[in-house]
Subunit: 303 residues, 2 copies
């Protein structure tokens, strides 16, 4: 770990075998395809069903990805768990494997916890991991985790751990919150939006990029806006991204992403999700596929 | 596992050593004291900071408790985690150790999941554990887990797994919800309230008892109401319990319980909590202790 990340990253969906165990081979292939589209790998994100995987399963997958040749300098695995000891173990592992960074949820079971308590959690993780190469990107997703990082808490963390706490993914869905972070202008702090819907606005205001669910299916187009946000076509490109995202957002996101990858790869195994999620039924899968095709949507190079 | 549970159980607070690792010896001593007060052991509950412990830590503690002679027929460990594989591993372990039951949170990271999805999760756990002695008590605590068990979902589970899904702890704090469960009169289904504030009402309506945080400090008095709910003194006993609970509820519950045990045992090590929780500061500890003492509160037999 050393260089800070920017650009577009994907919370890679996790394929399961028929017994609902992670399917490492399919995951490697998907990561290779995403990298070929110039998109980084935020494996073990919300959309990866990471919180439906045990720490052992995540560690095994990470080992498998690196052994298969996936470049850890393009990886930002999610490592924040409810239990301090789980977060420490997974974060330490990611740092040892040379991952460019980790994306860290706050401990999310106990609600109404104080900023001091979340600060203590992050500080304890940093101290216990004890690896100078560790780079933490905070993962702020209050609609799901319910517990989040306030602007003042981020400032405390950046001030006290300037080489370690280097960025954030803001999945609040609240542009005012993202904008407030950007306005603080912490030194080289990387602000990623959690949806490409805010990508142009983020780049225009000094942001670093986006880490978005939809990058699982539309990586090249999202990366194209990232690379050309100052061009005359940027507004039209943003509108194009929003259209595709809007189609998918009519369905439960994770099952819809998996159904789309299954549809375009011809590999139905991709449809499987772990409980408590349920895979998209046939009727909705067909409707989603029809809407995407009507809009000329494709996934070139997907095998 | 076989007989169904009733009475008063305690979500036993978890002591930590100076490095914030679980302190097995202190936990054994506390469980012995609670059993001496006729209170069962719902270890690894919300108030045990169970979601701040890894699965390995919980398994090690469970092994330690049973090896130390704590009777598993008095235990209902919490085993519901975010990840299916974690829940299966911990539940299978508890069943193998002969625990009377397990208290199972639904997978709680993903929000707005369907009843069908939660049903699939519970069914998958039962099938994977594959132990006829398994007895599941559902853990409904929407204020914290956000995800819960609806009345209709409970009915489906009880109907399809009548020997396995045998009860619930309702920590909704909503008596109307508890009452609606009791009205369904599922065969020998055990309804525990999550606070002794509802203990008398629960017993009057066919409930099985309570599993309450405050049983960590006030076990004998709570058990006395359970044993005498039909007596003339029951209303006064309920009022006495409510008074003590009200005093503690002015502070963050878990730190306040730990401060109280520290105060009455003279063992300050009990004060430690894991982040994201913070221990009660000196001023609040003193205020809490003073309020309890002013009300003649004691913890007889605590060592």
């Amino acid at each position: 770990m050393s260089d800070r990340l920017s650009g577009v990253l994907c919370p890679v969906i996790t394929p399961f075998d028929e017994d609902l165990f992670p399917d490492e081979k399919r995951l490697v292939r998907q990561c290779e395809w995403l990298l070929s589209q110039n998109v980084g790998l935020a494996v073990f994100g919300t959309n990866s069903e990471a919180n439906s995987l045990s720490v052992d399963e995540k560690i095994e997958l990470l080992v498998g990805l690196v052994e298969a040749g996936i470049d850890p300098s393009r990886m930002m695995p999610g490592t924040g768990c409810c239990a301090l000891t789980d977060t420490v173990r997974l974060t330490a592992h990611a740092a040892r494997k040379g991952c460019a960074g980790v994306l860290m949820l706050p401990p999310f079971y106990y609600k109404d916890v104080s900023d001091d308590g979340i600060y203590a959690s992050v500080a304890e993780v940093i101290q216990r991991v004890g690896n100078d190469d560790l780079r933490i990107y905070l993962y702020h997703i209050p609609p799901i985790a319910q517990v989040g990082y306030s602007i003042d808490l981020i400032e405390r963390l950046v001030t006290d751990f300037p080489k370690t706490v280097v960025g954030i993914k803001d999945s609040s869905g609240d542009w005012a919150n993202t904008h407030a972070m950007l306005e603080r202008q912490w030194d080289d702090f990387r602000v990623f939006v959690g949806s490409e819907s805010f990508l142009l606005a983020n780049m225009q205001n000094g942001g670093a990029g986006c880490i978005s669910a939809t990058a699982n299916i539309n990586p090249a187009a999202i990366d194209a806006l990232y690379g050309n946000w100052q061009s005359d076509e940027a507004v039209a490109m943003q509108a194009g991204l929003d259209k595709i995202r809007g189609i998918v957002a009519d369905y439960p996101m994770i099952p819809a992403l998996k159904a789309t990858v299954a549809e375009y790869s011809g590999d139905d195994a991709w449809r499987a999700v772990r409980p408590p999620l349920l895979q998209l039924d046939g009727e909705n899968s067909a409707k989603l596929a029809a809407s995407l095709k009507k809009n000329g949507f494709g996934m070139p190079g997907l095998s």
